[in-house]
Symmetry: C2
Subunit: 284 residues, 2 copies
Amino acid sequence: MSNAKISRLVRLPAGPVDLTALDSHAKPGFKGGKAAGRAALAGMGSELADLQERLWAEGTVGSARRILLVLQGMDTSGKGGVLRHTVGLVDPQGVRITSFKAPTEEELQHDFLWRIEKAVPQPGFLGVFDRSHYEDVLIVKVHEWADAAEIERRYDAINDFEQRLVDEGTVIIKCMLHVGPATQRERLQERLDNPDKHWKFNSGDIDERVLWPAYRAAYEVALERTNTDVAPWHVIPSDRKWYRNLAVAHLLRDALRAMDLQWPEADFDVDEQKKRLADEAPLI
Amino acid sequence: MSNAKISRLVRLPAGPVDLTALDSHAKPGFKGGKAAGRAALAGMGSELADLQERLWAEGTVGSARRILLVLQGMDTSGKGGVLRHTVGLVDPQGVRITSFKAPTEEELQHDFLWRIEKAVPQPGFLGVFDRSHYEDVLIVKVHEWADAAEIERRYDAINDFEQRLVDEGTVIIKCMLHVGPATQRERLQERLDNPDKHWKFNSGDIDERVLWPAYRAAYEVALERTNTDVAPWHVIPSDRKWYRNLAVAHLLRDALRAMDLQWPEADFDVDEQKKRLADEAPLI
């Protein structure tokens, strides 16, 4: 099976979602193991950097196109790892990462999309949401911080919002980093066992963990309801960190390739500028 | 000569500045050539990433410390290259790059530091200014968009501003990427000769280039007036791209090392959390 098919294989099919039926330890579309996977990711670096620079270049001459990569997943699913290892492959100048934490008092006084709107990427950028507007139908639903009618309203609001972003020239790549509860347990245990990682742990992590079945149910509904043609979901098996990083890189690369990005043509007279440079007087 | 001395060697001494006396083609503190320089930079990646993560970790537990890297230089001096090759070595999650373009109408209605204030890094971040408040005493002075008294006021305002940032916990690393006019000419010529690089060129570039002596004079005064103990300038010989990238990496690494960053201690009872994880009921 060709690795070129990874993007297609991780795409969530339409219809009801059963996350327990999706193997979080799988590596769809990739035959090799960790070493081969890491090498494959490193091997994508120069193409990714080239494509991202073309996107950036387009943005400098008036194109409206941009990419929004949405990363969702339970604690320890590896959103930070994807930022470091996959997003880290391209020029940081063209990347805008927004990490959404608990909303501030001011943010809570607005519609849930208010703070999201302010973070959408500008033309030419690769915007990355580390958590996103989906928290407003996940943690909010699990804790019943909004009633059922409001959650219901939000699925449609999200679809309308994403449709508008796409209409404006945004390519949206939505990734749910899918870990199993046993993997999360291992990773939390590692954080507790290693004093250098204690800062990554907080005592609320286990409070949320025991709500796992409620989170799973909330994810399943949210994924189904917002798995649109213009902004489909990808469920990335994430028990293997290297596969997770590689799969997101494939999605990013394939999205950039599909944009058919060209270097912008000169908007000035090239020969005239060459002549100016050739004819100039000494400068110092 | 040990490479560990690069940071010290590129530091601008106090007193009047004569940029023509500083060799833009030099590689102070580094014996090897391009291949060795690139290898040395790559070899710094893991330490830089580790130190940056410690800075980030500190920020999550209430430390006010942060870094601001200021990149100034003439067109083609390589601010973008430093972002890609040096800043690109650390986790993009902890980096906040601001590229300052010509001020907007709104920005022009405020003091020159208004837009700068909004971009200063938050605790734990490595903030990078690609151009900066120094444009307000460089291009503005060269084009006489402000009178002499206003420029004079700005040097002091900049020093006060930077002192305040330092008092708040910011380590400021100021770099002037020093290229010679012949190197700029080569790089502009390359952009004109290669259609894939035409987008990087604009016809104003040569208009600015012919003002080189005026820019040099403006830089010399600005560097002298703002070369403070709390926020000193470094003049990075930048005719060799690999040396430029390596020297900025040394400054960044040495600044991070000097912060003596420790992994934060747990603010929770580790054994209690381990017990909770060990005792939990099955989740699915």
